[in-house]
């Protein structure tokens, strides 16, 4: 079986959710299939500027072919157009114009998908909202499988995506909530699909004490891992956490791991460590009492799965249906809708070690049952086998 993965960016340096998701799945499924990757030469997800000079390379044993982006994205133009489309009545042409601005605009990639359709049995497209998925699926609908990685943001309501969601042969969803959302929007129940998600690579050993010693952190702490951004709900996290400390007198610290585009509050108990290595990140999660996940929009939070894999409880934003659903299904995390719920849930977690341990156990069991790599691999194999049985 020859399978082609099509994704907007691909590389060892790229840590973005869908791109990393694609690389891990491609590498794991190469045990069963002949796998190739078609992608663009972009590295920066804001502008899609051509970054990788080589057009053909091999990454961890997977052949990768890169195609140029003909026009980089202008964030200002794109932002204005998106705001206009979201806030106003508009035509389908406007949505197509938005898609071209969204990019990465690489017609050569689409031409390659068309040209190679005889050589591959199936094409697996990642992220519905980009140019490559939209036009790639239309080029080879009978051989396409879509991993939508959809979030509950306004873009998903665009009319052009309603038809797109009825086009692929199969879907690989990240969560039950994502499937319900896409089926509710497009009524594509006839298209087969399964909730799969992605596994994660948790190191065999991680040491919270090493993390504390390395970064000079004493006492209990909660951790946030990811981009520190308003879209990720970090401004609310700062506000709620400092208010929580002020009201309860808790000694807990907030440790932030990741690059920031928000000002960090000038407070002794808020520690921003910047971007860390994988080992440091896992050491940090290991030493934390709770993983904070304040994001409003998540298709599948990998760091939440990593925390559960390491037996750590999670405190998530209930506004994100996926996170709330995962917390309920796993019984491994609390969720809050407002400050009062945040305060009570965090107080409960910080003062009750037995509760943390029980939630950690539940999270780990949930991860093993649903997100261990053998589970993920078997689900992908079953989806493709199902398509082979249904010509």
């Amino acid at each position: 079986m020859r399978i082609c993965f099509v994704v907007q960016r691909y590389g060892l340096e790229i840590n973005g959710g869908a791109e990393l998701h694609c690389r891990w799945v491609a590498e794991h499924m190469s045990k069963y299939w002949e796998v190739e990757v078609l992608t663009t030469q972009a590295y920066d997800y804001v502008t899609w500027k051509n970054h990788y000079p080589e057009t053909e390379t091999v990454i961890n044993g997977i052949p990768v072919r890169r195609f140029p982006v003909t026009r980089p994205r202008n964030p200002e133009v794109f932002g204005r157009l998106q705001d206009y489309i979201i806030e106003n009545e508009h035509r389908e042409e406007d949505e197509f114009a938005w898609l071209e601005e969204e990019g990465p605009l690489s017609p050569a990639l689409i031409d390659a998908v068309k040209a190679e359709q005889g050589r591959f049995d199936y094409f697996i497209f990642f992220s519905y909202r980009y140019y490559h998925s939209f036009h790639g699926i239309r080029a080879v609908p009978g051989k396409s499988i879509l991993v939508p990685t959809a979030e509950h943001d306004p873009v998903i309501h665009f009319r052009i995506f309603k038809d797109l969601f009825r086009m692929p042969r199969a879907f690989v969803y990240n969560s039950c909530e994502e499937r319900a959302m896409i089926q509710g929007l497009s009524r594509n129940e006839a298209v087969p699909g399964d909730v799969v998600g992605v596994g994660t690579e948790v190191p065999a050993s991680s040491d919270g004490a090493r993390f504390r010693a390395k970064f000079g952190i004493g006492g209990p702490y909660v951790i946030y891992v990811g981009r520190i951004d308003e879209n990720k709900g970090c401004h609310k996290l700062f506000e709620y956490f400092l208010r929580f400390k002020n009201e309860t007198g808790s000694p807990a610290q907030l440790v932030l791991v990741g690059s920031t585009i928000l000002p960090i509050p000038d407070h002794a108990d808020v520690r921003h460590l910047g971007f860390l290595s994988e080992q440091d990140k896992f050491d940090g999660i290991d030493g934390a009492e709770v993983l904070m996940m304040p994001s409003f929009y998540e298709s599948l939070s990998m760091v939440t799965l990593e925390a559960w894999a390491m037996g750590k409880p999670v405190l998530a934003n209930a506004a994100c249906e996926v996170l709330q659903g995962q917390c309920r299904r796993s019984n491994g995390g609390f969720y809050y809708e407002n400050y009062e719920e945040f305060r009570e849930a965090l107080r409960l977690l910080l003062t009750d070690p037995a509760l943390r341990a029980a939630m950690g156990r539940n999270g780990r069991a949930y991860f093993s049952a649903n997100y261990a790599w053998d589970v993920i691999e078997n689900k992908y194999l079953a989806i493709v086998a199902g398509l082979e049985r249904r010509p």
Partner: protein
């Protein structure tokens, strides 16, 4: 914490079953607890500035106090009466001066101010008159424009009525045409239906006749087959009899041949006896 088996009650009254955690249930208890709490006290003033977000504020800040109202000159009938009174009293000003000097000075000052105010008021009235005339002219122009617009609206309404009538006529004509087409189509469908029915009946009848004929032929063929079967049987029996008879005749022939040989030899023997 109160402990009962694996189920414990937290200090804040939340019941947790540690062996069978139910996050939804705990969250429901948290929500209930929050709902049962009295309204939160206002945030203490030592909250850091960066923590005070928009959600902390208890509504919008009060608007700034409005500036004090400016002192207006006395106006209206009372002011005018006062002015007239001071004018009337002006000849008695020296007496007033003798009686109460400071009061007289103040009165004079007031009279002067009132006079100036009167002048200002007259100026304002003149300006207002001008404005009133201007507004009047503007109103007249607007009325004219409204009349023109009304005329145009009437004309437009007439035109719209005419268009409506034309549209009604077109709709009526279209409806009639649709009805006609519908009727014609129905008639043609009925004709086609009748033709097809006739054709089906004919085919049915012909087919039945042919099937009946074929059935008779088959019956006859079956009788022939039976007869042929009997014939074959009889032939076989006769052939068997003939075979047996043939075998009998062959035996008889051989016996007769032997008799003939015997008789021949006897003849030869007798001839020999006679010739001796």
């Amino acid at each position: 914490m109160d402990q009962t088996g694996t189920e414990r009650r937290d200090q804040s009254g939340i019941v947790i079953d540690y062996d069978r955690l139910d996050i939804a249930d705990i969250m429901a208890q948290i929500k209930k607890k929050i709902a049962d709490q009295p309204a939160a006290a206002p945030a203490s003033p030592d909250v850091p500035a960066e923590t005070a977000g928009p959600s902390d504020s208890e509504g919008a800040p009060p608007p700034p106090p409005s500036p004090p109202a400016p002192e207006l000159p006395p106006a209206g009938l009372k002011g005018k009466l006062k002015g007239i009174f001071f004018k009337v009293m002006r000849p008695f000003a020296p007496f007033q001066k003798l009686l109460a000097l400071p009061t007289h000075r103040e009165l004079m000052e007031t009279v002067r101010k009132l006079h100036q105010t009167n002048l200002e008021l007259e100026k304002i009235v003149a300006v207002m008159d001008g404005e009133f005339h201007r507004v009047n002219r503007h109103l007249l122009r607007t009325e004219k424009r409204i009349d023109i617009a009304n005329d145009r609206i009437d004309a437009g309404r007439d035109h719209a009525d005419a268009l409506q009538r034309r549209a009604d006529d077109m709709v009526r004509a279209a409806n009639e045409r649709i009805e006609e087409v519908h009727r014609t189509a129905n008639e043609r469908i009925d004709d086609v239906h009748a033709t097809i029915s006739d054709r089906i009946d004919l085919v049915h009848r012909t087919t039945n006749e042919r099937v009946d004929g074929a059935y008779g032929d088959i019956q006859r063929a079956m009788e022939f087959v039976k007869l042929l079967h009997n014939l074959s049987h009889n032939i076989v029996v006769e052939l068997s009899k003939l075979k047996i008879e043939e075998e009998g005749l062959k035996l008889k022939t051989r016996v007769m041949e032997k008799d003939f040989e015997f008789l021949g030899r006897r003849e030869k023997a007798l001839e020999k006896e006679f010739l001796k």
